[in-house]
């Protein structure tokens, strides 16, 4: 089966160690109000319209083609990160890719955790590590902010932690007043205490350029939170209760 990609970033910065390629898979079950890749949400190809021209976001690749593209560069690269959108939505495609690349490339799966558990586990078993893009842990609040309850995500993480040895980290965007609330951070720290394969909690500062691509998708960016609220800079309180290393990535 073919995979639908909306972008590829060569030498990407924030998606893992060393020189990496990040493959962005199109389609996502979540609708985070702060999503900075709105073109990654729909599972259909779409044309982005910029002031200076257009660009098609959404290209079908066969597993063989993507594997060949990556393996061709394996001597130059430290690894590949599969991100999205939500890579779990295209798990079968990804599994095929990973079956071909096997041990040639260090692989990271960057997922929200929302999806079929067996597929998540199969991917986790083939990858070197995972990035869980956690957001809001409270189930009801998660529905409002991300379009989905958090229960499936939390179940998946807890179960995977028991059944699969692959290490993973949490990556949490610091959305002012939403994800950086004391309630949310405490919940994350408590969750972290239950888990044995969690390696770190990485916070990603809110990016004021987040809304940049909405116009190109024919949409308007209207975040129902105060973008200008002072961002969380001090995570000492969190570090004090979190059992693993926690830091804000710059």
């Amino acid at each position: 089966m073919e995979g639908l990609l909306f972008d590829i970033a060569e030498a990407s910065i924030h998606d893992g160690p060393g020189l990496r390629i990040t493959v962005f898979l199109k389609g996502c079950p979540l609708r985070c109000r702060w999503c900075h890749s709105p073109e990654g949400q729909s599972a259909e190809a779409e044309t982005l319209v910029f002031p200076g021209g257009t660009r098609l976001a959404g290209e079908y690749w066969s597993p063989q083609k993507l594997a060949a593209y990556l393996m061709d560069k394996s001597e130059l690269l430290d690894g590949v990160t599969f991100s999205g959108g939500e890579p779990l939505l295209q798990a079968d495609f990804l599994l095929e890719v990973l079956d071909i690349t096997k041990n040639t490339l260090h692989s990271i799966i960057d997922t929200s955790g929302h999806g079929d558990y067996q597929k998540l586990k199969a991917l986790a078993e083939r990858a070197e590590s995972l990035h869980f893009g956690l957001k809001v842990l409270n189930e009801e609040k998660a529905k409002f902010w991300t379009g989905q309850s958090s229960s499936l995500i939390l179940d998946n993480i807890r179960r995977l932690d028991k059944e699969c040895a692959t290490p993973y980290c949490f990556r949490l965007p610091l959305i002012p007043t939403v994800t950086d609330s004391e309630e949310n951070l405490t919940a994350i720290a408590l969750l972290a205490k239950e888990l044995k394969n969690l390696t770190s909690v990485d916070f990603l500062p809110y990016n004021p350029m987040t809304g940049g691509k909405y116009a190109a998708c024919g949409r308007t960016y209207e975040p129902p939170f105060n973008e200008l609220a002072s961002p969380l800079l001090d995570i000492k309180a969190f570090q004090a209760i979190c059992p693993v290393k926690a830091s804000i990535l710059d």
Binding site: A11, I13, L19, I21, G53, L56, K73, E75, L77
Partner: protein, 686 residues
């Protein structure tokens, strides 16, 4: 930067030194020189320039300064042609570097003695007598000028320094720096253009090493001297403009190997990268030679300088360049000692190559082949056959130009500080060197390959477009068929994304180009022609709408007047797959043959450098560049939004630096076409 250095930096950026200039126009200087030049030999004329212009200069020594020289007249003279045939082409010495170690080891006095000895030996050779007597007179003019400078110095240290160099061999790092600054400045005052500093860290390090050993200098004092030297290069740089302000050729080469092939990186290599990063000015332009064994921490220092956004260092891959120079015919030891001229053109010792003499127009050849082939009903290989004819025809024009009689203008000081002119009794430009090759830039290559790929794909493979439709669109500059232009833009095969379909066409273009140039066995001066991949200012000159512009709309969807690709980069508006894929594309070229230089040019979004880890990624990119067998790389930073704002509010962006082609300049000092081309580049990693 300590406080004193900071003040010196502010002074050059504020144009503090300009107020000491007398306003003598170029026209007045030239009129004077013309009247005095009647009846003189070419050598005599250049000697006259030195005497005349240095005599007009007023020595200026500021309290406390350690690197001394400031221009005091505004104009730069032209070579006086009185009594000569003004119709014949003139070829001045430019785009090369003198052999700085000779200056440092022998000084003016040593070279004068060598001239006198040679004169004794060659007194029956009138040409040698003419060259050597004029060279001695030029040396005297420079030495007298240096004496006047020494007399003007009030501080004893300054006076002692100026009495010593450039007249005598340098014995310390400080003296070596002053000697280089002084000689470079007098060459420029006399009208010399695009002279580089060569392998600066190699010839300077012995002096610094000795000073450090003898404890004459501490590391910090040496670093301060180096920074002062670097800053001094911006004092008068506005007087030496090439195509645009900033195109002044003050470049230097760092790193690489020695003449035996052993690694030659030394502590000064690092210091130069750090000093450049610290002062953040466009001069000197830094070049770095790298290979598989370049130390990681040196690459990290280089990456830090890349992050600074000055548009350099430019990276050179020794593993590709040295074999290609040997393959072309240079000696191995000399090839290992290569440097670059002003931008990227390789310079090998003991010669006078003219690396930028010709500019080859790839898009024009492709366009002629496509239009005539489609009209004649050719298949694609038929068009490629026509391409060969078009390439050969353009090269034939160069061949004819090679045969033209012209004046090869001498330069006595450059000749004196070159290996063999004194021994041979001939100016470097007139037989004093051992090689006289020309270079030909290969411009717009990616645009040409994209046009061919579009034709192959749309007309012959998918048959989506008829030849008639494309021809009509080209004739009307796509006015009546914007739809076709969009179809062409969507063709999946473009140069720069490691796509074999397009990249093979790029390779074939360069092969045809190199084949045609290889047919010229003698360029009229006993040399051949080196094919290159750079394009300098030609992405503008070859495309601007003007009378006689041959390049109209092209089959890559480019409209008349739009830019073509610059050096090795994807065509304007093409979104390449990514940085690594682009390196893979250009790693496919046969640099054994394409040996004149011309960098891959790519831009990283300045936001790429948000964190320190980005530096490690840039190091890996440089290593990938080496591993993939690419030749030269300019890795720049870019923020198009900032540049657009700078066009509207130039007053807020006085210090904003951009890489233009082989040089960096202040964005607000460029004319608009050059600004627009930079804004249109693709920024990776945004």
């Amino acid at each position: 930067m300590n406080q004193r250095i900071q003040k010196l930096r502010e002074a050059v950026r504020n144009g503090f030194y300009h107020k000491f200039r007398r306003d003598i126009s170029r026209d007045d200087l030239n009129a004077d020189l013309e009247s005095k030049a009647a009846g003189l030999s070419l050598n005599g004329r250049y000697r006259l320039i030195y005497e005349y212009i240095l005599n007009k200069e007023t020595p200026l020594v500021f309290p406390g300064e350690k690197i001394i020289f400031t221009r005091t007249i505004k104009g730069n003279p032209d070579f006086p042609m009185n009594g000569l045939d003004k119709e014949k082409p003139r070829r001045a010495l430019e785009n090369l570097t003198i052999e700085w170690p000779i200056l440092l080891k022998e000084g003016l006095s040593g070279r004068k003695a060598a001239c006198q000895k040679a004169l004794e030996e060659k007194k029956d050779d009138p040409e040698a007598v003419d060259f050597l007597t004029n060279a001695i007179a030029a040396i005297d003019a420079v030495a007298d000028f240096a004496k006047r400078y020494a007399a003007a110095a009030e501080e004893p240290n300054q006076r002692a320094l100026l009495e010593k160099v450039p007249q005598y061999p340098a014995e310390s790092f400080h003296e070596a720096l002053q000697s280089v600054r002084f000689i470079m400045s007098v060459m420029r005052s006399a009208g010399g253009e695009h002279m580089g500093f060569g392998r600066f860290d190699q010839y300077m390090w012995p002096y610094l090493e000795n000073d450090l050993k003898q404890k004459v200098l501490t590391h910090d004092e040496a670093f301060e001297l180096l920074e002062e030297f670097f800053i001094s290069l911006s004092r008068d740089a506005d007087l030496y403009r090439g195509v645009q302000l900033g195109d002044n050729g003050q470049s230097m080469m760092l790193g690489g190997c020695d003449r035996n092939g052993n690694p030659a990186v030394n502590p000064l290599t690092y210091m130069c990268l750090e000093a450049s990063d610290d002062i953040g000015l466009i001069d000197p332009k830094i070049n770095l030679r790298v290979d598989s064994n370049t130390p990681h921490d040196l690459l990290l220092s280089a990456a830090r300088l890349t992050r600074k956004g000055l548009g350099f260092p430019q990276y050179q891959n020794d593993e590709v360049i040295i074999p290609s120079l040997v393959n072309f015919g240079y000696d191995l030891e000399a090839a290992r000692d290569y440097t670059v001229a002003a931008c990227w053109e390789f310079v090998v010792e003991d010669g006078r190559d003219t690396p930028n003499l010709f500019a080859f127009n790839f898009p024009l050849c492709a366009d002629e082949a496509i239009r005539s082939g489609l009209k004649a009903g050719d298949d694609f290989e038929g068009i490629m056959g026509r391409l060969k004819t078009a390439v050969d025809a353009q090269v034939k024009d160069f061949k004819e130009e090679c045969g033209q009689e012209g004046y090869f203008l001498p330069e006595p000081i450059v000749s004196v500080f070159s290996k063999n002119p004194i021994k041979k009794g001939r100016d470097l430009n007139n037989g004093g060197g051992s090689h006289y090759h020309y270079g030909c830039q290969g411009c717009g290559s990616s645009s040409a390959a994209d046009a061919l790929a579009a034709v192959k794909y749309l007309i012959f493979e998918t048959k989506q477009v008829t030849p008639e439709r494309l021809l009509a669109a080209l004739e009307s500059d796509y006015e009546n068929d914007e739809e076709l232009r969009q179809i062409i833009k969507a063709v999946p095969h473009k140069v720069g994304s490691n796509d074999d379909y397009a990249d093979d066409l790029l390779k074939r273009l360069f092969d045809l180009f190199a084949d045609a140039l290889a047919e010229i066995k003698n360029n009229g001066r006993g040399g051949r022609i080196r094919p290159g991949s750079g394009s300098a200012q030609h992405y503008v000159l070859m495309t601007q709408k003007r009378e006689g512009q041959k390049l109209k709309a092209t089959a890559d969807g480019r409209k008349y007047g739009d830019f073509v690709s610059s050096s090795l980069a994807p065509s304007p508006g093409v979104r390449a797959r990514g940085i690594i894929s682009e390196l893979e594309t250009y790693g496919k070229l046969d640099y054994k043959r394409i040996c004149n230089g011309g960098p891959i040019t790519m831009e990283l979004a300045d936001s790429y450098f948000r964190n320190e880890e980005a530096l490690l990624k840039v190091v890996k990119l440089i290593q990938a560049f080496v591993k993939l067998g690419c030749q030269q790389l300019q890795l720049n930073t870019l923020n198009p939004d900032k540049l657009r704002d700078a066009q509207i509010h130039p007053e807020n962006y006085r210090d904003l630096i951009v890489r233009v082609w082989g040089w960096s300049g202040y964005f607000v000092e460029l004319s608009k076409p050059y600004q627009d081309q930079i804004i249109g580049r693709q920024a990776f990693g945004a």
